[in-house]
């Protein structure tokens, strides 16, 4: 792939964005064909941090493989684990206690907020604004502290187990989450004042990286990218899991289809997550935090599929079981992989700056693409 560096026969410039580039937030390698500043083609070259998690999972037991998935989309580690826990429960027909379901959903939403905050800061930095990075990290730190107290880890929490959650909540959990909600509602406003209303920012975002609803479907984009183009794609609404069918929240739909719409979807989703947490945090029922399961789990022979909504979109786990203690075949349908495929379509004919903006609003996490 490296002999492609240089110029094409038509005299177009070929440059490599990545694998080490400030805007790729990881080891993503994109080959850009440029005519001056205009982008003619974007071609991804993946695999720099491919760890073959799917192959690895084939030799791990149903309890173990969940922990590996924290390393896929490390910003939605909880939600990845949640998907795996759900599919094992589905295979074994385990009834998860209400308390565990509540805790899982609260944790998911906290993760979603933390992930969106990191996206907000990193995207602003791609656009050349540095201050948001620190503002968002201030809030994200609070979530990380809450996570650390309960799960013992800040990034790869591994809190979900088949049948519930691993441990009891920390006694301060509810109080801390509530104080976080109060603070966060104020800061969300601050974000808008600093970036959303800025003229330069709006000019950089509006009309850039447009993708229509039809293209979103055919490219398989999910999550905020799809919802910004007007496609209802929230798995929490389409196929609710745990207590998502009991809480009230809006699926944010924008019809712009451009970078600004994607930006708005994520910003508004943060307040919806707050809304979900507010409904649940005071009503966590008493009871077990984990259902009783056997020591060695064995899924019955068959195929299982579970979809969840991560911060980036639809994560699907597909397991083929032969009745053994390990999955025969496992496949993670990661949201980033499909979203990335739409990048070329989004930025053709745009300028390099727009490419950076579009890539920022796709919210790519490279281990999620490479797995």
């Amino acid at each position: 792939m490296f002999e492609e560096i240089g110029t094409t026969e038509e005299g177009d410039l070929i440059i490599n964005v990545g694998p080490q580039h400030p805007a790729t937030h990881g080891v993503l390698h994109l080959v850009l064909t440029l005519n001056g500043e205009i982008i003619k083609k974007v071609e991804p070259h993946l695999g720099y941090i491919h760890r073959s998690i799917e192959k690895m999972c084939e030799s791990l037991s149903y309890r173990q493989f969940i922990y590996v998935t924290s390393r896929m989309d490390y910003l939605s580690a909880h939600i990845n684990n949640h998907a795996c826990a759900l599919i094992v429960e589905k295979g074994l027909n385990v009834e998860v206690p209400q308390r565990a379901q509540y805790i899982r959903v609260i944790m998911d939403e906290l993760t979603r907020i933390a992930s969106h905050e990191l996206w907000w800061s990193a995207m602003s930095m791609d656009l050349g604004a540095f201050t948001p990075y620190f503002l968002a990290f201030r809030e994200r730190e609070k979530i990380n502290e809450i996570m650390e107290e309960t799960c013992g880890a800040r990034l790869t929490m591994n809190y979900m187990v088949p049948g519930g959650v691993m441990t009891e909540l920390h006694p301060d959990f509810q109080e801390k989450v509530k104080s976080f909600i109060v603070d966060f509602k104020k800061t969300l406003h601050e974000y808008d004042e600093l970036i959303t209303g800025n003229v330069i920012f709006q000019n950089r975002m509006k009309g850039v990286g447009y993708i229509s609803k039809e293209d979103v479907i055919t490219y398989g984009c999910t999550g905020p990218v799809a919802r910004a183009s007007g496609l209802r794609s929230d798995i929490r609404k389409i196929a609710p899991y745990d207590v998502y069918d009991k809480v009230e929240f809006d699926e944010i739909i924008e019809t712009g289809g451009d970078c600004f719409a994607r930006y708005q979807v994520r910003i508004k989703e943060m307040s919806q997550s707050i809304r979900i947490i507010e409904q649940l945090i005071d009503n966590i029922p008493e009871g077990d935090f984990q259902a009783k399961t056997k020591a060695v789990l064995k899924l019955p022979k068959g195929e299982f599929y579970q979809r969840v909504e991560t911060a980036r979109g639809e994560l699907g786990v597909y397991i083929v079981s032969e009745g053994a203690a390990q999955p025969y075949k496992i496949k993670f349908r990661s949201p980033g992989f499909s979203n990335l495929s739409a990048l070329d379509h989004m930025v053709r004919g745009h300028k390099i700056g727009d490419f950076i903006a579009a890539m920022g609003t796709l919210d790519l996490v490279i281990p999620d693409i490479d797995r």
């Binding site: 030799s59 490219y219 349908r333």
Partner: protein
């Protein structure tokens, strides 16, 4: 559309399809030769399966099976299409001109399982290095240096 309606519809399109109702969604097994026209029909017809949300391959040691999870964003029904392939010479028509998302997914399957997608516009290695030999996700893949057996 319910499972029953789907079943009737699919039988109309392709009478030879073997339909399995045991799983969560309808499993439709099609032979490789008929796959392409079947895919075109389920995309276009009133089934309107416009969204491929998962595309992968399973290595059964004796043969390979392509697994396509399809969904409709308007009707919200899902089906699973399975195509059995010869393990020594796995070849199947591409669907990446019907569903654009399949382009990268098919490249991934191509390098991991060795399935050749006919008429794919750009079938190259996506994740693995250019000089890589072998199909890592196949069950008999051996790499004594990098693989640790548990």
């Amino acid at each position: 559309m319910t499972k029953e309606e789907l079943k009737i519809k699919i039988t109309e399109i392709h009478p030879e399809a073997i339909i399995d109702e045991s799983g969560e969604w309808l499993n439709v097994s099609v032979e490789a030769a008929a796959f392409r026209s079947f895919a075109e029909q389920v995309r276009m017809d009133e089934l309107d399966l416009d969204y491929v949300f998962c595309l992968t391959c399973v290595d059964w040691k004796t043969h390979l099976t392509m697994v396509y999870h399809l969904s409709s964003t308007t009707h919200r029904h899902n089906i699973v299409i399975k195509v059995k392939l010869d393990r020594n010479k796995p070849e199947i028509e591409t669907i990446c001109d019907i569903w654009r998302t399949a382009e990268l997914h098919e490249r991934e399957v191509f390098e991991m399982y060795g399935v050749v997608f006919l008429h794919h516009p750009d079938l190259r290695l996506l994740i693995l290095p250019d000089d890589f030999v072998g199909y890592p996700m196949r069950k008999d893949f051996e790499d004594p240096i990098n693989m640790i057996k548990l």
